[in-house]
């Protein structure tokens, strides 16, 4: 599909082809909305169902039933009448619901009547000494290699961190015949106390039995060691992992301490966000239909706050039903109550998981010359010192230190910078706020930017 082949406008533009985007596109298209779904990856599925339409992993037990459930959703969407465009990067979205898209180096602007942002989550920054070394990767990254390319770690592999995904990946690697030298569990005992009050709900949630089985499976086969201070050691690449002073030789270190909403597109579109104290991240302000503060823009899936893949699909359906009701009041749509009930069931155990796997402060708020901003190589100490100069927030910090100015546009440093400033100022992340983001949210070439339509007034604003 070329950018030129797209229609100038669509009833609904869905951004992201994970469970939320797939379910939203299918629901809307079946109800008769002219629907397009864009995803920048070579195939749909998002991160959770990565590679679902062309998976090289033949043994289904490795990835597990929860993964393969994504296949039905992908098929449902494919047959729904929605136009699915992969390899398509959305680089701009604004209050007028103009969508900037780039496909194979060609940029285009489209007009949407409604937009559902389903850009999901990304892994929380894990700023430890040496985390920029080759040989250090996110656990999610290794999982992507397994799902989409059938690649399993083969050298001396150490995993470190906390959270359900860490244990799931460990199980998948082990099932696939991979070896783990150790899993460094950075969980905190104090978390158990906070989590305990949510235990009754968790016992009722579908995650309880699955999670317990997973933990048992991994603990039977891998060495688990507790750790609070972790460092990746090496000059040109990873050689060792330091865990509280104990050195483990390693070729690959996989880091994970939970996932957080990928807010960049919504932020750039002007969607209001708030700090979520339990999930320790910014989440968009949304109503019960997942509509944001910008009329016509909804945020579904984990981008709306972390709740997992099944919940994401229900959120996508609810957001799509609202879009259909707004644009085609007479159209036949499922009763959103059904989706809401399923969503509630899915969300039941979330508070327990959030509290239990709350990443410890030492691994969120680095010190010294640990890099906070990977792109511009800005250290924690620089950020702390600049905060002490009176720099109150991330936008002034960016001007002073260039943190967040690189190509990742703050995705891997934003939360760290906000938390460090809050820590130095003795205030809350909510008070400190987040980077104000601007298009393009993903880089496009100057030639692409130059190719979009220019009005006479816009031209005259520059030419003299």
């Amino acid at each position: 599909m070329n950018a030129a082949d797209l229609a100038p406008s669509y009833d609904l533009v869905v951004i992201g082809g994970g469970p939320a985007g797939l379910a939203a596109a299918a629901t809307a298209a079946r109800a008769g909305l002219a629907t397009v779904l864009f995803d920048e990856n070579p195939g749909v599925g998002g991160q959770i169902y990565r590679g679902i339409t062309a998976n090289p992993v033949r043994n289904r037990a490795i990835l597990g039933d929860d993964y393969w459930a994504g296949a039905a959703l992908a098929t449902e969407t494919k047959n729904s009448g929605a136009l699915i465009v992969t390899g398509a990067t959305v680089w701009s979205l604004d209050r007028t619901l103009t969508v900037g898209i780039s496909i194979a180096g060609q940029a285009r602007l489209l007009q949407a009547k409604r937009v559902i942002i389903a850009t999901g989550s990304l892994e929380r920054p894990f700023p430890i000494p040496g985390w920029t070394l080759p040989g250090v990767m996110t656990a999610g990254g290794a999982q992507t290699l397994l799902k989409a390319q059938g690649l399993v770690p083969s050298g001396r592999t150490v995993m470190a961190g906390s959270g359900p995904l860490l244990w799931l990946l460990a199980a998948q690697i082990l099932r696939a015949g991979g070896k783990l030298e150790a899993i460094v569990d950075t969980g905190s005992k104090a978390n158990w106390l906070r989590a305990a009050m949510y235990l009754p709900d968790f016992l009722l949630s579908p995650y309880f039995k699955k999670g317990l089985a997973l933990l048992r499976e991994v603990k039977a086969k891998a060495l688990i060691i507790p750790g609070r201070q972790i460092a990746a050691i090496g000059t040109d690449k990873l050689r060792e992992v330091d865990v509280d002073g104990r050195r483990l030789p390693a070729d690959l270190l996989l880091l994970h301490q939970g996932v957080v909403p990928n807010v960049n597109l919504a932020n750039a579109a002007g969607v209001a966000h708030r700090w979520d104290k339990r999930q320790l991240c910014f989440v968009p302000l949304l109503d019960q239909d997942f509509q944001s503060s910008v009329p016509g823009i909804a945020v579904a899936g984990d981008g709306a706050g972390i709740a997992g893949g099944t919940a994401a699909a229900e959120r996508g359906r609810i957001a799509a039903i609202a879009a259909v009701r707004a644009l085609k009041p007479g159209a036949n749509v499922p009763d959103p109550q059904t989706a809401r009930q399923r969503l509630q069931q899915e969300e039941l155990g979330r508070a327990f998981l959030d509290e239990l796997y709350r990443p410890i402060e030492a691994l969120r708020q680095p010190e010294g010359d640990t890099i906070a901003c990977r792109c511009e190589e800005v250290t924690a100490q620089q950020i702390r010192e600049t905060a002490r100069l009176g720099c109150e927030g991330p936008n002034q910090m960016k001007a002073f230190l260039r943190c967040g100015m690189g190509p990742c546009q703050g995705r891997l440093c934003g939360l760290t910078v906000t938390e460090l400033i809050a820590n130095e100022r003795g205030t809350t992340p909510d008070e400190v706020g987040y980077y104000r983001l601007r298009p393009p949210v993903k880089p496009i070439t100057l030639a692409e930017l130059a190719s979009i339509p220019i009005s006479e007034a816009e031209r005259k604003a520059v030419e003299r």
């Binding site: 920048e40 990856n41 070579p42 991160q47 590679g51 062309a54 090289p56 992993v57 033949r58 043994n59 490795i62 390899g87 990304l122 892994e123 920029t132 070394l133 080759p134 040989g135 250090v136 990767m137 996110t138 999610g140 990254g141 290794a142 992507t144 290699l145 397994l146 989409a148 390319q149 059938g150 690649l151 399993v152 770690p153 083969s154 050298g155 696939a176 015949g177 040109d236 690449k237 070729d251 690959l252 990928n262 990977r374 792109c375 511009e376 190589e377 690189g406 190509p407 990742c408 995705r411 891997l412 993903k442 880089p443």
Partner: protein
């Protein structure tokens, strides 16, 4: 660092800094480089430190490489093709490349 699970997918050949590597249809530039055991894919424009793919989902921009003469491509989002020429990116990108 990574081994292939089973024998799935047709193979093809691409080059990294002039040296041929084998990859599978379904690989991305980043996964092919990792499987080939290539330590790093770029050095940074700030300090010249070596970097390798980190997130594999398009958000970290660590896997930037030159693909068929075009610099700063995200290796984890570019599917491999037969005969593709990959170059590691050293420091700042050259204008016009």
């Amino acid at each position: 660092m990574f081994k292939r699970l089973g024998d799935t997918g047709a193979t093809l050949t691409l080059s990294v800094d002039g040296k041929p590597i084998r990859a599978r249809i379904g690989d991305t530039v980043a996964s092919a480089m990792l499987h080939a055991g290539i330590d790093h894919c770029r050095t940074t424009p700030v300090s010249g430190a070596p970097r390798a793919p980190y997130c594999l989902m398009g958000v970290c921009f660590e896997c930037l490489v030159t693909v068929d003469g075009v610099g700063s491509r995200q290796g984890c989002l570019v599917p491999v093709r037969e005969g593709m020429k990959i170059e590691t990116q050293i420091g700042k990108r050259e204008a016009g490349r």
